[in-house]
């Protein structure tokens, strides 16, 4: 039972991550290969506030969200100066620098990471695993509602316009700079939420939890599911959480299978499983 | 020398060339005239092999080349001077010329180079310069020269007068005319600059929005009401 609950919690956290990256990459079209950095900022903020100041999870969580949104706004600034491949490499760089900062600066716990992060509690009652899973699920649904709302409101329209054609968007009255930074802020804030959940669930984090390969995994989730859609981000997150578990008997070949899947997807199904342009989704919607 | 039969070309769903047919005879200057967006550039790109043809045939020296790749067509003797003096901007002038001579051997390269420098002495002065730093007129000269270095039998030129001062346009057209008279080089010239193009052409065709409007000798076209219409209404 605990095993399944843990998987459920991972699924929730990964879904929030995928949904948040989807705002930056899927809606706004800004290639980011460093999403784990924002996740890490959230986790570290939450962990440090909780351990150093002794505040509860319920204070640490919003603080982490605000902090990550702020950092997201700053780290999103390069997207105003560079684009496409330059941005991709810059975001990889951001991931490395953030990770190295956590690992080598004493304040962040250095190579030992941060331990003794309190598990969330209400009053004197420590949450049970099931309760944590429920809470994560609620946050996940909330994140889904937020990203869906962003997608259908004016801001989503503006973001998608920026993604399709910056000049035409600008000529339609969209302030391209503002919208790009907003995408990074909202996306980072949600990643901060995921990071806080992760920190308080694991109760112990190190810099290596937020390394570059994780950024790729998150990106793979939305690409495999179908970029730019809430359902795609969800499906991708769930699949990429469960698949490694299913491959557990293949333990030794797990990463290889995963990497090969990634290549095959890019080679043969780059529009994702249920993206707007995928064959499967077109069939499903035609019947409906 | 070149025969184009019922050519149809699309960009995505846009039908750019509609049943275009014509023939260029050996040693002549054939001009294709039309306003912007008429499909002139697309036509040359299709003949060069840079744009896929949906329907129709391109025959060069009796050989069907419709499905050949651009570099294969270049070795057969077709050459193109791109629009707007498009050349390799990061290479030097001489390297651009060397590139044009990619398929020919070293001795003939030197000979060809002397020939080009005689045509456009200004290029020799600038031979070590990066091509991107040339003026508009020099770029156009280089573009034509690069195309000439391949030792073509058919030289296609895409708007050599584009954006150039009248003095330079005259200079370039004089060179083209001389080339044709002295060496018998066949030219396929695409132009917006009607009078200039017709002045040196033996025959010409007018296209508009992908269709053929009319064709004939320069005199026939210059007195054709439809042509004036197409341009100035």
């Amino acid at each position: 039972m605990n095993y399944y609950l843990t998987i459920l919690i991972y699924m929730g956290i990964n879904s929030i991550l995928a949904l948040s990256l989807n705002i930056i990459v899927g809606y706004a079209g800004q290639i980011s290969l460093g999403h784990a950095a924002f996740y890490g900022v959230g986790a570290y903020t939450s962990a440090l506030i909780a351990t150093k100041l002794g505040v509860s999870f319920w204070v640490a969580l919003p603080a982490a969200i605000v902090m990550t949104a702020f950092i997201g706004a700053i780290l999103g600034l390069p997207s105003l100066r560079v684009s496409e491949d330059f941005l991709a490499i810059t975001t990889i760089g951001i991931n490395f620098v953030v990770q190295a900062t956590f690992k080598y600066v004493k304040f962040f716990g250095g190579a030992l990471g941060v331990s003794g992060i309190p598990f969330p509690s209400i009053g004197h009652h420590n949450l049970s695993l099931a309760e944590f899973a429920l809470m994560t699920t609620i946050f996940t649904v909330l994140a889904a509602i937020i990203t869906y709302w962003v997608s259908v409101s004016w801001i989503g329209l503006g973001l998608k316009a920026v993604r399709e054609d910056e000049l035409a968007a600008s000529s339609s009255g969209v302030n391209v700079y503002k919208f790009k930074v907003l995408a990074f802020i909202i996306g980072s804030a949600l990643a901060g939420l995921a990071g806080s959940l992760y920190a308080h669930f694991m109760m112990f984090i190190t810099a290596d939890d937020f390394s570059f390969p994780l950024s790729i995994t998150i990106l793979s989730m939305i690409v495999i599911g179908g970029i730019g859609t809430v359902r795609g981000a969800f499906l991708g997150a769930i699949l990429l959480t469960i698949l490694p578990e299913l491959f557990r008997p293949l333990a030794n070949y797990r990463m290889l299978v995963y990497a090969i899947l990634l290549i095959l997807f890019m080679r043969f199904l780059p529009e994702g499983l249920i993206g707007d342009e995928s064959i499967l989704w077109k069939k499903l919607t035609r019947k409906a | 020398m070149l025969r184009v039969e019922k050519l149809n070309v699309y960009y995505d769903r846009l039908h750019v060339l509609k049943d275009i047919s014509f023939e260029v005879k050996e040693g002549e200057i054939f001009s294709i005239i039309g306003a912007n967006g008429a499909g002139k550039t697309t036509l040359l790109r299709s003949i060069m092999g840079l744009k896929d043809v949906a329907d129709g045939k391109i025959i060069f020296k009796g050989k069907d080349i419709t499905r050949l790749k651009a570099h294969e067509r270049a070795s057969l003797g077709i050459s193109l001077s791109f629009e707007g003096g498009r050349i390799l901007r990061t290479l030097t002038v001489e390297e651009n010329l060397r590139l044009g001579a990619y398929r020919i051997d070293k001795d003939r390269f030197e000979e060809r180079l002397r020939f080009i420098y005689k045509l456009f002495p200004r290029l020799e002065e600038r031979k070590k310069q990066i091509a991107g730093s040339l003026s508009g007129g020099e770029r156009q000269m280089l573009s034509i020269s690069r195309a000439l270095m391949t030792e073509p039998e058919l030289l296609m030129l895409d708007e050599p007068s584009f954006g150039l001062a009248p003095k330079i346009v005259i200079e370039i057209f004089q060179v083209l005319k001389k080339l044709n008279e002295d060496t018998g080089l066949t030219l396929l010239l695409v132009e917006q600059n009607v009078k200039q193009a017709l002045k040196i052409a033996h025959r010409a065709m007018v296209i508009e929005a992908g269709y053929e409007v009319t064709r004939g000798t320069p005199d026939e076209i210059l007195t054709n009401k439809e042509v004036i219409e197409a341009y100035l209404g």
Partner: protein
């Protein structure tokens, strides 16, 4: 002390440059960020290992590794990149990262996760220049990198195919209309770039006397930083940025008052650089 750091910086700069040059060549002709290039680099080290076990001669090992990686590079462009060139930019990028991961996993499965020493220990002679000691291993790496750089320089600037490579990377259509088979030139860029990476892999294997599956990680990300600073596709820019980074690292690490990883330095330098000059050193 200072000069020794400089020599060390030149040695690692040489390796960075060799690896990054492959990326630059590929980016020039295909505009793809070929991250799996670092997987090819590690392949070079492993192939050298095999070669050395078959026939213990360092020249043979070089030849074997370089031919093998060249073939590897050729296959990658033909079967992975070529079919997805017209897809959105993110597709070949993720495919490349996927291939990189897959290669590292393959090496781990075949040769094990541990560090394998190079079969022969080379005894480097150190040279003394006045009272400065020049470690032979550094000189070996530096000299060899210069050798390969010279060969590349010669190919690119003095031969016909080199001219064709530069032409394709500048304007593919003009190159084709000049009679160049751009498909072959692109393949050739992969072949040359991969062979250079193979040589670099071997050199690192010998230099540190260790070969392991994830040895490509650090060069992978560093060469990205290098090509950005160099101006994406510019060979001169890459050479300057590569050696510059090697020197910067060696000097900073030697004198920095606190511990900071070499690898993050590259990116910090890159980000600062980008903010000042977003188009890189030698952009076009």
């Amino acid at each position: 002390m200072f000069l020794q750091q400089v020599i060390n910086g030149f040695a690692s700069g040489g390796i960075y440059t060799l690896v990054a040059l492959g990326l630059t060549l590929v980016y020039g002709v295909l505009k793809i960020l070929h991250i799996a290039h670092a997987g090819i680099y590690a392949l070079g080290a492993y192939l050298a290992l095999i070669a050395y076990r078959i026939y213990p001669n360092i020249y043979f090992a070089f030849a074997f590794a370089m031919v093998g990686t060249a073939i590897g590079g050729y296959l990658v462009q033909k079967y992975l990149y070529w079919p997805i060139l017209d897809k959105p930019r993110i597709v070949p990028l993720i495919a490349s990262i996927g291939l990189f991961l897959a290669l590292e996993e393959l090496y781990r499965l075949i040769w094990g996760p541990y560090v394998i020493p190079f079969p022969q220990k080379f005894h480097w002679k150190s040279y003394n220049l006045g009272h400065i000691r020049l470690p032979g291993s550094d000189l070996f790496v530096f000299a060899l990198s210069l050798f390969f750089l010279f060969i590349l320089y010669w190919i690119v600037n003095r031969t016909k195919v080199g001219l064709a490579m530069r032409a394709v990377s500048d304007d593919k259509e003009v190159a084709e209309a000049s009679g160049i088979d751009s498909k072959w030139i692109i393949a050739l860029s992969f072949i040359i770039g991969s062979a250079l990476a193979g040589a670099a892999g071997l050199m690192v294997g010998v230099y540190y006397n260790s070969i392991y599956p994830t040895m490509g990680d650090v060069p992978a990300y560093k060469s990205l930083a290098i090509i950005v600073v160099g101006g994406m596709g510019s060979i001169e820019g890459t050479v300057i940025a590569g050696f510059g980074l090697g020197l910067l690292e060696a000097l900073l690490i030697g004198y920095l008052p606190f511990a900071f990883p070499r690898d993050a330095l590259a990116f910090i330098a890159m980000i600062i650089f980008l903010l000042i000059k977003p188009e890189g050193l030698f952009s076009r």
